[in-house]
């Protein structure tokens, strides 16, 4: 028991709250397909994909300190890039080869990154509410382009029939594929968050002016982060099409962007794994609430209201606070030096 306790606290000391939470979540995610029926496996896939999307959003919000209301544009661009390549690679019989399937998945991130490069070029000139509004405007612009360019994107009909190869048509197989890709993506994001660049992002969040006087080209660094966040959103989008068998312009819209914001606020922007914890809560809640009522927007609206008012750091922020308070009491009793962990 005590050795176990030591293990947890070592994990906490090394990686912050995200360490133990990530470990527990990974084990639970691995076990999800054991639940009876396909339903929770499908919900689990959705949690992972939207969680990755929300995590990419938090690179901008939690680490760089800018809120984007148009981040779904890159999720949608990734989804459409994959879907359109997917349709081209499909055989006349309507099937796609395994290799072609993976090839179509790789189309998402670069196309989304390119979109982010163009949008970001303008957005990083601004901060705060102006950054948020411009990102929203660009998001809606891209939404309308996809929505109305019928000959190229099939407009509001969307693209249907994104049936993955037979092996991955099985919900459990697609789930594990998604889990593997999301885990690798999150490990990459963790590396970036803990890199010199990741900490430069935190300096930009805290004090852009000071960073500039250290020789940091603020806009160029923001743009790079914007592109990285866009690429990860694009990866999430790439996974979405074959999962839901279709893509539609709504994937680029502000409501989709809002999902990333909601998840991040629920889970906590201050912790690395906050957004994916938020995705677990948001998506499962939605799955349950929709069984009983059609008033999902009302429900989630109320929850967000309560979170913003009473739990501004999200669920993980709340837990972190509790741990700090307990450590503080222990430190008062003993001689412990409290170490602080921020932005993990």
């Amino acid at each position: 028991m005590s050795a176990n306790g030591n293990g947890w606290s070592r994990l906490y000391a090394g990686y912050g709250l995200s360490g133990p939470v990530a470990l527990v979540m990974l084990v639970l995610f691995l076990l999800v397909p054991l639940l009876p029926g396909e339903y929770w496996t499908v919900v689990g896939t959705e949690i992972l994909i939207l969680g990755l999307f929300a995590m990419s959003f938090n690179l901008l919000y939690g680490y760089m300190g800018q809120i984007s209301f148009g981040h779904a544009a890159f999720f949608g661009l990734g989804a459409y890039a994959t879907a359109m390549l997917f349709m081209r690679l499909k055989t006349a019989g309507g099937e796609i080869g395994m290799l072609d399937f993976f090839l179509s998945l790789t189309a998402g991130p670069p196309v989304a990154a390119l979109g982010a490069l163009i949008v970001g070029f303008f957005c990083v000139r601004l901060t705060g509410i102006y950054f948020a509004m411009l990102s929203l405007a660009f998001g809606e612009l891209l939404f309308y382009i996809v929505f109305s360019w019928y000959s190229f994107t099939k407009g509001d009909d969307g693209i249907q029939g994104l049936l993955p190869p037979l092996y991955f048509q099985d919900a459990v197989h697609y789930y594990y594929l998604t889990l593997a890709i999301v885990v690798v993506a999150l490990l990459a994001m963790w590396r970036i968050a803990e890199s010199p660049f990741g900490y430069i992002m935190r300096t930009l969040r805290d004090n852009q002016r000071r960073a500039a006087f250290l020789g940091i080209n603020v806009r160029l660094h923001m743009l790079m982060n914007f592109v990285i966040a866009g690429a990860f959103a694009g990866l999430a989008g790439a996974l979405w099409g074959p999962f839901s068998r279709s893509v539609s312009p709504g994937l680029l819209g502000w409501q989709e962007s809002g999902i990333a914001v909601f998840m991040t606020l629920i889970g906590g922007a201050g912790a690395f794994v906050g957004p994916i914890v938020g995705s677990v809560i948001y998506t499962m809640l939605q799955a349950v609430v929709k069984m009983y009522t059609v008033y999902w927007p009302l429900t989630i609206g109320t929850i967000i209201l309560l979170i913003v008012l009473f739990v501004p750091g999200g669920v993980l922020g709340l837990i972190e606070k509790r741990i700090k308070a307990r450590q503080g009491r222990l430190a008062d009793a003993g001689d412990g030096v409290e170490s602080a962990r921020e932005g993990r």
Binding site: R191, I192, E194, S195, P196, F197, G198, Y199, I200, R202, T203, R205, D206, N207, R209, R210, A211, A212, F213, L214, G215, I216, N217, V218, H221, M224, I228, V337, E338, S339, A340, E342, G343
Partner: protein
Amino acid sequence: MAAILEVTGLHKHFGGIHVTRDVHFSMQEGEQSAIIGPNGAGKSTFMNLLTGYHRCDAGKVLFEGQDITNRPPHNIARLGISRAFQISSIFAKMTVAENVRSAVHAQMRRSFSIFGVAARVGVEETDRVLDLCGLEGKRALVAGELAQGDKKRLELAIALAGKPRLLFLDEPTAGMSIEEARSTMELVDRLNRELGLTVLFTEHDMGIVFNHARKLTLMHRGEIVVQGTPEEVRANEVAQKVYLGEHHA
């Protein structure tokens, strides 16, 4: 000896107010001098103009012979000019060590590195700066929760992490206790003496000014009134009238 900083005919006005008027100023390498003057004299604006925070309306700034007039702040910082702010300007949510470490990374040109591990890059330099500024024992504390004096010390540490050749300090001891102020200025003296760092600081405490600056510049309403050694400035009649008088009355 070559001039490290050469300012000619510097002008700046906000609306109709001239905050900097025809300022000519130069510093020799290894010099340690102070700008003094009443509140609103234009001392901070002058530093803002030199470091690219404000745009100059007219005039020229040369650093080591290079024209840096109206270049963006990050560009000027990279050439080797660093500054510490009057109101401590730190990264409030990061720890003390992370504050300094990121400044070190910027100086090492590693700010774009996404494959490195931040905790393993520039460790020695970070430790050296923390040690130098007496912040070693506070490295794990969140910067925003430090006492005022420690914040100012961290401010100085961040500025030093950039390995500058020219350092601007805007009231480096404001908000510090007498003891803290003394040790901070001793550190500045040491940097100047041992590392040959050229230092320009503003200060209201005349005790500190006369003990630590070898050259003084008195500004008043955006203009330079007197320049010279502390003794010369002290003896100057105009200086007595616009500034020193109120302190030594």
